[in-house]
């Protein structure tokens, strides 16, 4: 077990190093000078812009040798200093990110966990009953093929604009301040529900299909036929099939994280939800490269941590990793 987790940790450390290096390298490889764009945004006249250019180059340490810049980048990273934001003048990138994280997590964690369990349950049920298979499966296919932003658009249009049931934009009513009151909690939940539902529904479709197919594969396996021929109740056979099917679903969870996070970004944009996605849009529209770099690192770090949690859970579920036997 320690060997398994040690190997995984090594992989994640390597991935982190790789991601940080990409993050550092991309702005320096790409054509065009980000500082030029920055100066052009401030729209200074030519002499002042010369000076500004020099000032920014110096303050971002772009005049130093590359290896020095690389070391400084890491040092800043470890100290949690990701540079200043260009979009929101006066705020640092890390401040902005810390303010956005809670909203994104509030959408992502419930959506991922609930869709995983609900999807697995429904998928396993669909594999058992033909009538359910014929109704749930088509719906699941449509859901998993739906682009997140489009489902978000449709939900906003139908629920908020046509039926006027739920509010549209922001994370809570603009007249309120975040506080531990019932009024605020109600406002927060009513703004939270639709973006959450979007993420939940799309992810749910994928889990249901995956589990349904896996169970059918498992029931075709020899151990299942053997158990059946011994006269074991089909309930017991399905229990074993489910136990085996959960493992690939869990490794799938690690893979799916990236896609759900991507979905959360565009969903937030449609709902104007003040999380990481909305921040990315602002950074893109303002060519705020420091903010983008910081957000990229945030997403990578989040994904790596989540992957590690899934790996630990995998050890709990799969006895083979505990005893040191590597599954094929």
């Amino acid at each position: 077990m320690t060997r398994y987790l040690a190997r995984k940790s090594l992989l994640y450390l390597l991935t982190f190093w790789f991601a940080v290096t990409i993050d550092w390298l991309i702005p320096r490889l790409m054509p065009g000078d980000p500082i030029d764009g920055l100066v052009a945004r401030i729209q200074a006249d030519s002499t002042a812009s010369q000076e500004l250019h020099g000032y920014f180059t110096e303050s971002f340490e772009l005049d130093q040798p590359l290896w020095r810049q690389y070391v400084n980048f890491w040092r800043g990273l470890i100290q949690g200093d990701l540079g200043p934001s260009i979009t929101y003048v006066g705020s640092s990138v890390s401040e902005l990110i810390w303010a956005a994280i809670p909203y994104t997590l509030a959408l992502l964690i419930p959506a991922i966990v609930l869709s995983y369990f609900a999807g697995n349950r429904v998928g396993a049920m669909a594999a058992r009953r033909k009538s359910l298979d014929n109704t749930v499966l088509p719906v699941a296919y449509v859901l998993t093929a739906t682009p997140y932003m489009w489902l978000a658009i449709v939900l906003v249009y139908v629920v908020s604009f046509r039926l006027e049931l739920l509010p549209v934009s922001g994370a809570y009513d603009f007249s309120l301040q975040p506080a531990w009151t019932w009024e605020f909690a109600r406002s927060f939940l009513s703004h939270w529900f639709l973006p959450f539902l979007t993420l939940f529904l799309v992810a749910f479709g994928g889990w249901a299909i995956g589990m349904r197919n896996l169970i059918i594969y498992e029931l075709e396996a020899e151990y299942a036929s053997y158990l059946q021929s011994l006269g074991a109740p089909s309930r017991l056979v399905r229990k074993y099939a489910y136990g085996n099917a959960v493992l690939p679903q869990m490794s799938g969870l690690a893979l799916a994280l990236g896609a759900v996070v991507g979905g959360a970004l565009v969903t937030e944009i449609v709902f104007g939800y003040p999380g990481v996605g909305t921040l990315i849009l602002a950074a893109l529209q303002n060519r705020d490269y420091f903010l983008l770099q910081g957000l990229f690192l945030l997403i990578i770090t989040g994904i790596l941590i989540a992957n590690f949690i899934v790996d630990i859970l995998y050890v709990v579920v799969d006895p083979r990793t505990r005893t040191g036997i590597q599954g094929s």
Partner: protein, 312 residues
Amino acid sequence: MSNVEPTADLVATPEIALTGQGVDGIELGPRGKRFETLHFAVRNTKLVIGFCVVLAFLVLAIVGPWLTDATPFEFGYPLGEPPSREYWLGTTAPGQDVFAQFVYGLRSSFIVGALAAVIASVIGMAVGFVGGYRGGVIDDVLSMLTNIVLVIPTLAVLIIVSAYLSVGSLRSEAILIGLTSWPWAARAIRAQTFSLSQREFVSLARLSGQGTTKVILREIAPNMSSYLFLTFILLFGGAVLTAATLDFLGLGPSQVMSLGLMMNTAVSNAALQLGMWWWFIPPGVGITAIVGGLYVMNVGLDEVFNPRLRRT
């Protein structure tokens, strides 16, 4: 689960149907085999439905632009009019023809999806074949690389790359998507290659002195062609979704109409508040139908290729 990496159902395939084997394991000639596949293919509802949906939209994408005189970015049509006999899908708030935007957008989806899927398949096959067949240090290095790229979320990389490198054409968008979406395919192909390379006919080919490339191309690849085809379909669907997301964020080519760009302009022009459903419903329906059709087709094909699944 994942939109971009629809892995579970593919990776979990325990064994691939070996080419040339009939229902009861009787060896059939290549012609008999082809007829047998066709026999099951036309009787598979999932395959037929998925194929028809994708084909219908493909035909619309090819023929559509000839059915209208309007071009997607052209102004001068009535402002924000609902669908009518003259404007089949209505017009946008600033006065563009939605039908023209839709059919040109469909074209972009198919072009980007196909091109990105080809690129990702080629990389995935190269990494998967070499890693699975050669083994040893090469396999370790390739697996490590695959796992690293697999963990890094595709969309995050695409966002940061396309923010610096403004994407000007469908081709560069497709290349970017192809270069980032291959890892799960590589991993799946590697596993299949590994199990095939343990078979006797591969050892025989190796003993007869054939080189690595020849063994892979003549012995291994043909025997998992159905599996490779399924991988390609899933990559195609994933690429269409990724492209739509990028276009929606405004990171795709701005001079080429795409379904994601339609949604982007609809949202930023307050089509939702104005109740102009004909502007934002078609692009989503198009993407969902194409991707859903591809996924359903994939399951149907799996049942056709894999005799063990036919009973269900």
